[in-house]
Structures are given as C-alpha cells and as structure tokens.
Subunit: 204 residues, 2 copies
C-alpha cells in the first residue's frame, strides 16, 4: 500500500500537469494541492522530473492492467483476432474516457521526459502499440481482415481511441458504453473485417 501522502501527491500532480502542462506546472502548487509543504514533497519524490516519471509509470501500469482485463474477458490470446482487437479498442476507449487527465499526460507530456527516462517510456509505448498490432496481423494472416494497409489502419485506430481523452465529456449526449461499442465497430470497419465462411451481414 502506498502512503497516503504519496497518493495525494500523485493525484495533485496529475491535476496540475493536466491543466497547465509540465512546463507551466509549479511544484509549489502541487504540494499545496496535496495539502503539504513544498519540502515535504521532496521527501517522497526527488524533484519535478521524478514526479512526472512516477505519473507516467503509474498511468502505463493502469492502462496495461485495463487492457489485460478486457483481453482476459474474451479469452486471452486464444480468442479470434476480431475479438481481441475489439477488446483492446474497447479497453483503450474506456480508459481514455474514464481517466482523461491520466491519459492526456501519457499522450502529451512524453516530450518533457529527460533522455534517460524517455528511453524506458518509449519501450512501454512500443508494447502498447503491439497490443493493437498483434491482433491486426493475426486477422490479416487468418484472412478475416482485408485492409491493404495494416500499419496505417492500426495507427488510425489508435489515434481514434486516444483522441477520446481530448473531447469526450461524461455529461455529454453520448453514453460511454455506446461510444465504446461504436469504436469497436469502427475499428473493425477500418481493418475491413469480414467473418469467414458466411455471407450473412454482420449485426448492427
């Protein structure tokens, strides 16, 4: 279990970074939001950079956990490519919507990382990309996905999911459940998913 002070600090830093961006964020404000003095913050984190690093790490952990849970729910690596891609798209869309601040930091503040820490983060980002790449390539190989451009389709799907963090508002007209369903459908449309051995139209 993480100490309460540390959790409060991460939450405060998340808000501050999400609102103003890393460069404009003040660690004095972060400490104040967390209800402690500036120096107390240095007891938990050795500086502004490490605060960002911890935030990105924690965000990545949560994201991978979300996707893994959704993947397990459809049967893990043994599921059909369309099921797996759908699970990844659903988990990603939901994560971007439910953790907008977290996601925006993950997506926008990469450039604020120092060189050494950026290297590690880049590796995790590549893993995240593979979450989409694997089922798409499997679908191409099995003949269920017909897109001639798997790489660009993958990037398109990822971009569509990621953008959710920037525009979706829970109090808007669109239910999160509906959005997730639509994104799954759109992703399957983009990779030109057509079930084999059947001429029946896919359900709407």
């Amino acid at each position: 279990m993480r100490p309460a002070g540390q959790t409060a600090l991460l939450e405060a830093a998340r808000q501050e970074f999400a609102e103003r961006g890393f460069g404009s964020a003040s660690i004095r404000n972060i400490a104040a939001r967390a209800g402690m003095s500036l120096s107390a913050m240095y007891h938990y984190y050795s500086g502004k950079q490490e605060l960002l690093h911890a935030l990105l790490d924690e965000g990545m952990d949560r994201y991978f956990a979300s996707v893994a849970a959704e993947l397990d729910a459809v049967g893990g690596h043994d599921a059909a490519p369309a099921e797996r891609l759908g699970a990844v798209v659903a988990a990603t869309t939901r994560f971007r919507a439910e953790h907008a601040a977290r996601s925006n930091i993950l997506l926008l503040e990469e450039r604020s990382l120092e060189a050494e820490r950026l290297e590690r983060y880049g590796r995790r980002q590549a893993e995240a990309t593979n979450l989409f790449r694997d089922p798409i390539e499997a679908g191409i190989a099995s003949g269920e996905f017909h897109t001639p451009y798997p790489d660009e389709a993958r990037r398109g799907v990822i971009a569509m999911c990621n953008a959710v963090a920037q525009w979706y508002r829970p109090d808007g007209p669109l239910t999160l459940g509906s959005l997730v369903d639509r994104h799954v459908e759109l992703a399957l449309t983009l990779v030109e998913y057509r079930p084999q051995r059947s001429f029946a139209a896919r359900g709407r």
Copy 2:
C-alpha cells in the same frame, strides 16, 4: 510582406514552442534563435502570449489555405462527397506531415491560450471540423456513405490525420504521396463509401 525580423521571430518561436512546449519555452531563447535581442522581440510582439496567438493564427491561415486549394482542385463544393472528403483528408494529412512543428502547436498548445483568445481560436477550430463534417453528411444524405456513426467516424478520420504530425518522418520508409493516398482510402473505408449505380469494385 512581413518584415524579415518578424518572420524570423515566428519561425524561432515555432521551433521553441514545438520542442519544449509553451510553458517551458523561453522568450530569451526565441529572440536568440531569431538573431536579435530580447527587447527587439517586444518591438514586434507585445509578449509571449501574443507570440503564441500569432503562431496559431498563422498556422490556421495556412491550413485553411491548403484545404481550400485541394478542394478547388477537385471542383469545390460541386464535387461529389467522396471527392470532397478525399480532398480534405489529403490536404490535412499532407499539412500535418509537411508542417509538423506548426501542426503540433496548433494541436497541443490550445490550452496555453488565454481565455479571450481561446474563444476566437475555438471558432476557427469549429470551422476546421466542418471541413470534414460537411462532405460526410452530404455523403450520408446522398446514400454513398453508409456508416451508422457519422460523428464518431468523422472524429476518427480527423484523429488519424492529426496524428501524422506526431509520428511521420519524411526520411522514413513511407513516401508522403503514398501516405496521403492510403489515408484517403482509409477515410472512405471508415465512412463506408460505396459508389452508387455500379457493382464494380473501387480501384486499388
């Protein structure tokens, strides 16, 4: 014609903002990059905020000009919806790739704008969204686009195009021309474009 000093300043500010973000950018660095003193900068722009504002305005002007030119090339508002959407996607993809720094500032630094200037920028952003919305709705109305989710498809197409500014490198394996073509195809796939009165397959 803009004074040379002003142009150099905008270029320097663009680089600095793109590399470090607005918050971390230093106007001293910007002035130095432009080859002038800090105070000389104040002769042209009244401060950091106005520098960002000018940059966003100039970027938007260029973007709209690019799209307008591409739209004109296919026949303007009289062209078929698929042609129009293709033109907008092509122009946007090309713009994001050829003006990556410009685009990233347009896409990421909105939050650094003060309230008053943000209002004006929001209006221009809405106009940009309409560039995609109009042909998509026209395609739905004419029966050539069959997507059940025009709004989410539109957001997906826009996100796909915008993401180009973050990943595309001109020295990479993919030609810009190829990327543009593929994005146009993917966009038409996403809105489920099927030409009317013909069973012939669309060209690949």
